[in-house]
Structure formats: C-alpha cells, structure tokens
Symmetry: C2
Subunit: 337 residues, 2 copies
C-alpha cells in the first residue's frame, strides 16, 4: 500500500462500482480524510420501508459486510423473510435479505421519528464501524424516473423489476427542484481542506447526474479550489456492471470512455479523467476536450486493485495544478489542456 495523502477527498458514488473505489480510498486515506457522497435518487419506499440501495452498498462495502457475489445486500445473508412473504402473497421482486432488512427497518423507524437521512446514515455507519464519512446526497426525496419507449418507470421498477429491459430515451429526477444537498455535503465541497473531488466509476445518468443536479452542487464544484476528477465506468465499450453502456447506446451516444468524458465535460465540471488501459487509444480525444487524462488499470477485481486505483487517482488529482483551472470562467470549447 502506498503512503496515504493527508488531505481530504470527496467521492461521489453510486452503488457497486463506486463502492469499490470508495473502499480503496478508505484504505489509503485516514478515516477522517474521506467523505463519500452517495446517490439517493435510487431510493424508494417498498413494503413500507425506506430502501437506499447506493447508500447501503457503500456502507456495507466500507464495513466489510457487502455481498460480493450479488453486488448488493449483505454477505452471509439468509432469505427466510422473503420466503415467508412469498407465502403471504407479498411483493418479492425486490430481494430483501434478512440481515439487510434490519438496516431498512431501523432507518425507516428513525426517519419517522424525525431524524434526517444524514443523521441516520451516520448512526448506522458508526454502529458498523465505518470510519469514513458516508453522506446521502440529500435529506430530501429525489427519485429517478426512467423515460422509456413504453412510458415512465420508477427507477427500481426499471432496474430490478424489469431488469433494465425497456429502451431508455431519457431521465428526470422527480423532486430535484425542491431538494437541497445534504448540508454536510455542500459544506465539504466548499471546505478548503478538501483536496480533490473524485467522481467514482458509477453510472453517469442515474448515479452521478442526480448528485450534480442538486441545487448548488455544480456551482460549488466549479468554485472550489479542489480539482474534480472522474473515473470512467465504461471500459472497452462496456460497463463493468449495470446498464450504463446500454443506456448510452439507446441515447445515441458513443459507448466509450470518451463518451462519458464528453458527457461531464459539456457541463464544464471536470479537471481530469481516468480511463482504463484498454481505452488508451481514446486518451488523445479526451485530452482534446481539455481534460488531462490518466490511463491505468481501472477494473477493480482485487482489494489491491481498489487501493492502487485509489492512490493513483488521488495522485493524479493532486498533480492537476488548480491555478491553471478556469472552469468558472471559460466554456469548454475555448479551453485548452
């Protein structure tokens, strides 16, 4: 393991892919030097319980209790609840394990008692021994709605119930106009101690965009001294996990790392981009967008992979001279690397 940097990093994360990098970051940074901000636009109310898939995947991963086989839920899980619910004729399309259920029951109860999602998450993380700070992007409800050829679908209906089968034509984030970023999130972005904001290799459309769409987040990122670096979730024209590649194709975008870079760059948000060795041929194209590009191994199969990518990404971000940054002033076309 390389020497850890003493500066604070903020990671914006969705579920599995983001959680992998978050775990790497949590192992190369001191516990108080990492804030992971999770997408909550996948959250939904199911069986009367508040389910927060991305928050839980990150929390379970950092706590070392994530289920690596499924990519969601807890390890050593049992399924008696779901089996009994099935006998009762209940809804079982969303797989809730017995251990996992404790999280949803405890969270739902605390939310009903008036705690914010930020507070509940802090309590759960503390109980599970997670030392990094894990934040929901917002304490207010934001819900991704997937626009498909056959109509609108709530995200979990699209993602889990329908297995991402419908053809996607766009997205909207219900509630986004009324939602505020979690105060702790905005505060961290604006904090001088924050050395870098890292966009994890998560789905750009349904994991990262909702975070960026929150009122004040894009402005804070542009205003902040810390560089913003994203890791591509697309490697060799495919997503490691999830529907990102399928979505890009259906939206008429090139299914490439460069396509993702362009997606973020159009909003004048990025200072650097990390792509996989497999996509080295796209580095020049991405640099032409005005984005310094790191080419390295981004597929995180082992814990060592996660730690190495975390360290390299932090180093890469540190190497971007913030005094050269002109995001707030210049539009992308005028900007050169």
């Amino acid at each position: 393991m390389k020497e850890a940097h003493p500066t604070h990093c903020v990671a914006l994360s969705g579920g599995v892919g983001g959680a992998k990098l978050a775990l790497g970051l949590s192992r190369v940074l001191p516990g108080d030097a990492l804030t992971v901000v999770c997408n909550t636009a996948d959250d939904f109310d199911h069986l009367g319980l508040r389910i927060c898939p991305d928050l839980d995947t990150v929390m379970y991963t950092l706590a070392g209790i994530a289920n690596r086989v499924t990519g969601w839920g807890q390890a050593h899980e049992t399924w008696s609840f779901l089996e009994a619910l099935s006998h009762l004729g209940g809804e079982t399309w969303f797989r809730l394990g017995d251990r996992d259920l404790a999280t949803h029951v405890e969270r739902t109860q605390r939310l009903r008692a008036g705690e914010t999602l930020t507070e509940v998450t802090a309590t759960l993380c503390q109980a599970l021994g997670v030392t990094a700070r894990v934040l929901p992007m917002s304490d207010d409800p934001v819900r991704t709605v997937v626009l498909t050829e056959t109509g609108e679908l709530s995200f979990q209906h699209y993602f889990v119930r329908d297995g991402c089968a419908p053809t996607v034509s766009g997205f909207r984030f219900a509630g986004i106009d009324a939602a505020r970023p979690s105060p702790a999130f905005l505060q961290t972005l604006e904090d001088d101690a924050t050395a870098a904001t890292l966009v994890c290799p998560s789905n750009p459309f349904v994991s990262v965009d909702p975070v960026l769409a929150l009122d004040g987040v894009e402005e804070a990122l542009r205003r902040a001294a810390a560089p913003v670096v994203a890791v591509s979730p697309i490697v060799g024209g495919a997503a490691i996990k999830g529907p990102a590649a399928k979505m890009m194709a259906e939206l008429g975008m090139p299914v490439t790392a460069a396509g993702v870079a362009r997606h973020y760059r159009e909003r004048n948000l990025l200072d650097g981009f990390v792509i996989d060795d497999a996509d080295a041929g796209q580095a020049a194209e991405i640099e032409d967008l005005g984005l310094p590009t790191l080419v390295t191994g981004t597929v995180m199969e082992t814990l060592a992979d996660r730690e190495r990518l975390a360290t390299e990404t932090i180093d890469f971000a540190h190497g971007i001279d913030s005094r050269q940054r002109d995001r707030a002033e210049a539009a992308p076309p005028e900007r050169s690397a």
Copy 2:
C-alpha cells in the same frame, strides 16, 4: 375423532392456550363452522411495525406453522434480522424472527394502505390456508396497560421486556371506550347459526377481559341464544403458561379454577365451566355459583388432547339447555343451577 357438530362455534382466544383449543376446534368442526375471535389488546407498534401476538399465535397454530418450542412465532425460524439489528444498536428485547417479520411487514403495509385489521387478517389467513375464520376483537386500537406497584407499564413491556416480574395491582384497557368490536365479531355473536361461544383457557385479565370489555359484547353474549362456556386456564393452582396465576395471587384472588369461574360469573356471563380432573374437588363450589361444570382432562399436550377437549366442550355446551338460561334477567346471587 368424534363426529363434527354442524353448528357454528365462536371461540374467544388469547395466545398459546387459546390457540391450542382453537386448533382442536378447527379439527372437529367444518372450516366454515368456527370463528376464532382474538384479543388484540396485546398488540403494539414496534420498530414501526404493527405486532399482533395473539392473532399471530392463533393464525400460525391453525396454519400448522407455529413454533411449539417457544409458544410464539413460527417453526423453522431464523434470526438473522434480529442479529443484524443488534449490530445496528436497534431494540432487540422483543424477539422477531425472520419469517415472523414477513407477517408484520405485510400487515403494517396493508393497514397503512387503509385495510382494516379484520380484512388484513382474512387475507393472511387465506394465504396460509387457514379455513376457520380468525377475527381480531376490534379494528380499533385497544392497549392493555398493566398497573404495577412501580407504575403503569404497556403490556409488552410488562410481559416480554420485564418478564412479568412487576407486582400487578390492576389493568386498564386504553382506547376501549372508543373501540368498537369488529363488525364481523358482533354479527357472529348475534347470528342464530351460532350454537356456542367458548371462552378458551386464556388469561382472564389480559386476554379475555379486553374482548368482553368492548362496547356491546357482554350485552350480545347475554342476549344470544347460544350458551357461553369457559375452559379454566388454571389447573392445580397454576397456569399452564403465562402469568395468570401470578396475577391472581397479586390481585388477592384464590389461585384456583373456581377463582376464574367466579371472575366471569360476577359479570353474569357464563352458562357453563370446564375444569381439569386435577380440580374435580372444586366442581361443587363452581356449580354453587350457578354454573354447570364439566370435569375432564384440560391439559392439551397432544393433538388428540386438543381434539378431545374441543369435542367435549362443544358437547357440554350443546347439553346446556338454553331455555333454562336467564342470564339477561337474573343477577348471579338469585340464580340456581
């Protein structure tokens, strides 16, 4: 198994002891000839879920999935939820198994969606293949409060959390004045097809009294043509299960079957009483209260015991000539057997 009676029986039941007789009744009567009315004053909201211990014990027992070792919850149960909840620092004093939890989640969700407890119970029973009709005593919240030397305790705090340790001085049923009996319950009591109302060997104070305390129930029982017969929960000076004997002693009552008979008889409700062979010596005392008394084996260890006691109790009730009944007219002191 004896020949089943074609007439309808109503059983008033609490948890374990009541459920045993209810199971016997369900096996000697046709499915549509039995209504089991369950105490719901033990119900409580816990972890954001509506828990109905007596309803569930009866439902699980009739469905053949009750846990015979614990006397509550389901057989073949697993405990992952509670273990995980403990790790999260949640409340674990009330033991909720993983399978059992499905009942509470499904019920809570349906109640929140606007179904009555009567409707939800019917749905759950149908899903579990229970052919007898199981009714909550009321669709409205009634909550037993135990008056103790150290103050008032909600029933589950007294019963489960504090293990019945506090000394009892009385009870009150919060919400009883505003609560109505489940309409199906009252209708069945008033139905000419009802041949007998059987008070199961349940705790008189916290399982049966709340049912009787509901507005209109005592009047309907007195008005009905069907005789009312109770089975003593006290055998040989002790309760088979639960705190009934301890409560009687603390309330200054003799801890005897006759003490239970007197408790019901004071309200002019009973037409007959069933006691165990062990208490045969009390038969004369109970008959002197104006109550025909059946002496038989009331300890239900085997399924055959349950069926035999059910049949004998039904036969005994049928043998009580309703034309001789004068409950509505006469007070107990004036009445002779």
